[in-house]
């Protein structure tokens, strides 16, 4: 293993991890624009991100953000239902959309000379959607079927919903993005229209254009198509209910006969990347890698999978991209004959030992190198770059934060990691979830 990492370090050491060129401006109606130039291929990625996600939904209407994402492919005053994607496809491009807790985004990847057409259509559906009651009936069945496939038929997803509902006591991150089924069934035309009218507005949107384009040309087009849409005067301040001090450890056991392999996952509340304050998040990226990154080199993998052979799988994960309090998770699937109690005790031994011991400087170097390498490779993927800016700008970060992030990652020290770990590993702010096929397995 050592040799392989050394080789990787050699390759990437020569590559500068300098920030990509990003030009930013704001239209008069408040719409933010980011342009990322990449002239290696005559392709453009065109994305519109709305600062509205499932965690902004009215109580009782969970799923409406994602429902609306589906409805944006229906008819407008000039486009027929399905015509948007058909035109993109007929022009050799591809398009899609996604909804998360903090944002809803629409994008196309297409030949650079078709950018104006994309803007024309995307700006049209920002303001002129013409949803009907029939669309609601049809598309509600589609999202319910989506929930069926992704969640109801997936014990792991159902368990995750239960665990996350227990982790967040007040914040809407405890409600699934796709929605609670009983609330999705009640979503009506008025719910989607109210949401659309208020939040699909230029002053609540970020335009990201990345690829073979010139900032000036993008600006002219953006003014022509998006600049003419009036700002929404009623747009409310984005205020989310925050977590109270969490004071008690929670444990949740999810029993489902469809579970083929029992496992446990513990999630702790954890700080997210914040504007001008990303160093705790950066340290948590290292912590996840050190504890549960690779099964060969991570603390959990080495101890539980290799040395003691009591786990089939170990993991630690942290994202850090969220508007509000994020989570840090560790997971173990025990080997045959090992109970979940034993696996959890062993997991906690590893975490405790990690907190007591020094971190191997070679591991720190290796993670730093990997992060620098993935930063360099990220620049080759213009779509990923565009996504990075769109997500950041809808989650309160700035272009400066995005560009500073690689350096913040590089400057993490062992002390930073230990400090944030000591803060995050507070059982009072955690949920330990067990996923088993029967009560008998829950021991």
């Amino acid at each position: 293993m050592t040799r392989l990492f050394a080789a990787l370090a050699l390759i990437t050491a020569g590559l500068a991890a300098q920030a990509e060129e990003a030009t930013t401006f704001t239209l008069d109606n408040g719409m933010e624009v980011v342009v990322i130039e990449d002239h290696r291929a005559p392709v453009v990625v065109h994305m519109v991100w709305y600062k509205i996600g499932s965690a902004d939904e009215p109580v009782g209407a969970s799923g409406v953000a994602h429902f609306l994402e589906h409805l944006l492919f229906k008819q407008t005053d000039v486009l027929e239902a399905g015509e948007f994607s058909a035109i993109v496809s007929a022009n050799g491009g591809s398009d899609n959309a996604f909804t998360s807790y903090d944002y809803t985004a629409y994008f196309q990847r297409i030949a650079a000379d078709r950018l104006e057409l994309m803007m024309q259509m995307e700006s049209n559906r920002m303001n002129n959607l013409a949803i009907t009651a029939d669309d609601i009936e049809t598309e509600r069945n589609v999202i319910l079927e989506e929930r069926n496939q992704r969640t109801e038929n997936n014990p792991g997803a159902l368990a995750r919903e239960q665990f996350q509902a227990a982790l967040y006591q007040n914040h809407r991150y405890g409600v699934p993005i796709i929605g609670w089924k009983h609330e999705m069934e009640q979503l009506e035309l008025e719910d989607t229209k109210a949401f659309y009218d208020l939040y699909y507005s230029p002053n609540n949107a970020v335009l990201v254009v990345a690829g073979d384009v010139q900032p000036d040309a993008v600006k002219a087009l953006a003014e022509t198509y998006y600049g003419v849409i009036p700002a929404e005067a009623q747009l409310p301040e984005r205020i989310r209910p925050q977590e109270p001090p969490q004071r008690a450890e929670r444990r949740v056991t999810y029993v489902d006969p469809r579970v083929s392999q029992p496992y446990l996952i513990r999630s702790y509340l954890a700080p997210e990347r914040d504007p001008g304050a990303q160093s705790e998040a950066a340290a948590l990226v290292y912590l996840a890698d050190l504890l549960g990154g690779s099964s060969f080199t991570s603390a959990l993998g080495q101890a539980l999978q290799f040395d003691r052979q009591i786990a089939l799988y170990t993991n630690a994960s942290y994202d850090g991209s969220s508007l509000d309090t994020d989570m840090f998770s560790v997971a173990v699937a025990p080997a045959d004959g090992v109970t979940l109690s034993q696996a959890e005790a062993a997991m906690d031994e590893v975490i405790n030992a990690f907190m007591e011991a020094d971190i191997d400087p070679a591991r720190m170097d290796s993670i730093r190198t990997q992060l620098r390498a993935s930063e360099v490779y990220a620049k080759d993927d213009v779509q990923q770059l565009a996504r990075r800016y769109g997500a950041a700008l809808t989650q309160s970060l700035t272009v400066q934060d995005v560009q500073a992030w690689p350096d913040v990652l590089q400057s993490v020290t062992e002390a930073d990691i230990k400090a944030v770990a000591a803060k995050v590993f507070n059982r009072d702010q955690s949920v330990t979830g067990w996923v088993v096929s029967s009560q008998e397995e829950a021991r």
Copy 2:
């Protein structure tokens, strides 16, 4: 014990449990009125109930319902701050107010000939409250201090908050009535005004007048004082987010060095009294009594406190008065040397044994008799009667439901109890909370 209950049965057997006289009507502006006559003393209880409680608050503004309750004692266009209560007191009466999940209510108990004065003042503050930014500053400190005393300084209350937040995954019953402290600190004039303007309206209120009054006279007064207030046209339909199917048992451990006696409490979601459908709730009243009513006769008390002497305290509780899904709880405080695990296992043995065994008909008779007796005695307390109607009518029940309730209680059978118990004792819809002074006690 047997003789004591027999004596009680003799006393109450002769008393008819007939419903009190309640006259109801609705003013033109939508305000409901209930008049209960009781001419034994020249006293009247005057109550205004608003169909607005903490579970109706906007997300992020927890505590605003209770905050507003405090502010209603500040100045209006004609009353000075504190003058309302001063006038009640100067007229020999007493007044107060209370906030719950489903309602906020204001009441006075005073000589019957002062009813008009009460209506004059209470109708005045329904529409003419003149809160200032200064009031907000002052009174916010009062409610924060109230939270300090009732919650922050009370480990049992803090634990209950954590347990209830875990029990409700979607419903606002998971948020404390008094509010989360960090949200109370942010409550501003606009929050309280918006809440007041929308919800303090005759079409969102129930007037209950009980005591030495004539319905016709009450009606004339109500029309004079409340009938002239215009209905609030913007009053929204009262839609609450409901629970999704709960699929996983939750366990919460609350550790606080101030805990002097460890205990455990398990709460299950349970049906509430619903319009025309109160029989499950009635059966749960019996179940609570049978399992944990008296420490001498209940299943938990007999088995754990007397026979095995492993518990200092046992309890089962159920209220049933709520607009949405309620809870049923069982609790045990173990004796010295008994762990919480042992106590919980013993508690579950008792519950399982209860489900297997027949219910002693003598116990059924005894509960029936007690319920009939307390029904008879309730009629002596006109304030309690008034409260009963006010709570019911703000929780979706009707006057008919209130009057049918004693008979529904009398008609509960053993089969009803077993059926509802089988439904409620579903661990996937439960939270088991442990309250301990240290991690070492949590075993």
